[in-house]
C-alpha cells in the first residue's frame, strides 16, 4: 500500500509537532521549578519580603517560560498549517520541530538560575531588590538568545521555498540546519544562566560591587553565546547554500554530519565557559580588587574551553565546503 506525498507531509508535521512540544517543555519546567524552590527557601528565611520575592519569582518564571512558548507556537503552526505537498516538506517540518524543541531546553533551564538567585538575594538584601530585578532581567534575556536563534531557524525553514532545489542532498542540508541550531542552543542557554546566577548572588552579598559584577557577567555570558552563534552560522550556510544534485549517499550524509558535528560540539564548550564565568563573577563579588586578574583568567580559561567548539566548526565547514 503506497501513500501519497501529502500523507507523508502530514505525518511529518504531526510527529514534528509532538517532538517540538515534548522536548520544548523539559527546560522551562526545570528552570521554573528551581526558581520556585529558591523562592520558597528565601521566603522561609525572610517572610517580611514575601511580596517582593513572590513578584520576582513570577517575573523570572515568565522569562523562563518564553522558550517553551516559542516551542508551543511552532508546534501549533505545525499542527494547523496547510503545507504544500512537496517531498522536501517532510525533512523541513521534522527539522523545524527538532530545532525549536531542542533549542528550548537550555534557555528554559538557564533563565531559571538568575531568577532563583534574585529571589534568594531579596531575602538577604531587601534594599537591593530593584537592582537585583534589573540584573536578573538582563541575565535571563541573554539566556534566551539561543532559543531565539532556534526560533528564527525554524521559521526560515518553514517559510523558505525549497521546491526548486534538488531533493538529494537538500533533504540532508535541511535536517542538518535544524539539528545544528537545536543542539547548539542547549549549552549556551545553560552556561549563560550559570554566569547570571553568580552575578545575582554576588550583588546580594556585596551591593557595592554591582557595576563590576554586571559588566563581567555580560562579558562572561557573551563568551558562552559564541558556540550558539557558530551553530547558527552553520545552519544558515546549510539552508542558503545551493548544493548540486546527486544520486550518491555520501554528499547528503556529509551535510547531515556537519549539522550534527557543530550542534553537539557546541554543547560542552558553552557549559564549561559557564562554569568559568560563574566562578569569576563570584570571586569579583567577594573582592572587587581582583577584578583585573579574575577577568583575565576567566577569558584565558574560556578561550581554551572554546577550542573544541572551534574544532567542531572547522570539521563542519570542511564537511560542507571541502568534501
Amino acid at each position: 500500500m503506497a501513500y501519497d506525498i501529502q500523507t507523508w507531509v502530514s505525518v511529518a508535521a504531526f510527529s514534528a509537532g509532538g517532538i517540538t512540544m515534548g522536548f520544548g517543555a523539559i527546560g522551562a519546567a526545570i528552570g521554573e521549578g528551581y526558581t520556585a524552590a529558591s523562592a520558597n527557601e528565601a521566603i522561609g528565611r525572610n517572610p517580611e519580603q514575601s511580596g517582593d520575592i513572590f513578584k520576582s519569582m513570577l517575573v523570572g518564571q515568565a522569562i523562563a517560560e518564553s522558550a517553551a512558548i516559542f516551542a508551543l507556537v511552532i508546534a501549533m503552526m505545525l499542527l494547523f498549517t496547510n503545507f504544500t505537498s512537496h517531498i522536501l516538506m517532510i525533512p523541513v517540518l521534522l527539522s523545524a520541530g527538532l530545532c525549536m524543541g531542542l533549542g528550548a531546553i537550555g534557555a528554559g533551564v538557564g533563565a531559571g538560575y538568575p531568577a532563583a538567585a534574585a529571589c534568594r538575594g531579596m531575602a538577604r538584601q531587601p534594599s537591593m531588590s530593584g537592582r537585583l530585578t534589573t540584573n536578573m532581567l538582563i541575565g535571563s534575556a541573554v539566556c534566551q538568545t539561543p532559543a531565539i536563534f532556534a526560533l528564527v531557524v525554524s521559521f526560515i525553514l518553514m517559510f523558505t521555498d525549497f521546491s526548486s532545489s534538488p531533493v538529494s542532498p537538500t533533504w540532508a542540508a535541511i535536517l542538518g540546519a535544524g539539528i545544528s541550531s537545536g543542539f547548539g542552543a542547549i549549552g549556551s542557554g545553560l552556561g549563560g544562566g550559570m554566569v547570571a546566577e553568580a552575578s545575582c548572588d554576588g550583588i546580594a552579598r556585596q551591593p557595592l560591587t554591582v557595576t563590576s559584577v554586571t559588566n563581567v557577567m555580560l562579558l562572561g555570558q557573551a563568551v558562552t553565546q559564541t558556540t550558539a552563534i557558530y551553530a547558527l552560522l552553520v545552519s544558515f550556510i546549510l539552508m542558503f547554500k545551493s548544493f548540486p544534485a546527486t544520486d550518491l549517499l555520501a554528499p547528503p550524509m556529509a551535510l547531515l554530519a556537519a549539522g550534527l558535528c557543530m550542534g553537539i560540539g557546541a554543547i560542552g564548550p558553552a557549559i564549561g565557559e559557564g562554569f568559568a564565568g560563574r566562578s569569576a563573577v563570584d570571586g569579583i563579588a567577594r573582592n572587587e580588587k581582583h577584578i583585573a586578574d579574575l577577568t583575565r583568567l576567566m577569558l584565558v580559561g574560556q578561550a581554551v574551553a572554546e577550542s573544541t567548539g572551534i574544532y567542531s566548526l572547522v570539521i563542519a565547514l570542511i564537511l560542507i565546503f571541502v568534501i
Partner: protein
C-alpha cells in the same frame, strides 16, 4: 537507486567524522571550564599566586584538551585518509 558499497562507506565515514568531533567536543569543553572555574576561585582567595595558578590551569586544560584533539585527528582521518 541502488547504493553502491564505496558510496555507503564514504557516507558512513562522513557521518562518523561528524559524530566523532561533535561528541568528542563535549567532554573537554566542560572539563576545561571546571579547571578555569577552580583557578578563578583560587585567585580570588590568594591573588598573589596568580602566575602559578594560571600556569597550572593551562597545563591541566592542555591535558584535558587531548581527547578533543584525538577526536579532531580521528575526524580528519575519516574525512581525508580512510
Amino acid at each position: 537507486m541502488a547504493i553502491e558499497g564505496a558510496d555507503l562507506i564514504r557516507a558512513s565515514a562522513y557521518l562518523g567524522a561528524g559524530l566523532a568531533m561533535g561528541l568528542g567536543a563535549i567532554g573537554p569543553g566542560v572539563g576545561e571550564g571546571m579547571a578555569a572555574a577552580k583557578a578563578c576561585e583560587a585567585i580570588g582567595k590568594n591573588p598573589k599566586e596568580a602566575g602559578l595558578l594560571t600556569r597550572t590551569m593551562l597545563v591541566g586544560q592542555a591535558v584535558s584538551e587531548s581527547t578533543g584533539i584525538y577526536s579532531l585527528v580521528i575526524a580528519l582521518l575519516l574525512l581525508f585518509v580512510v
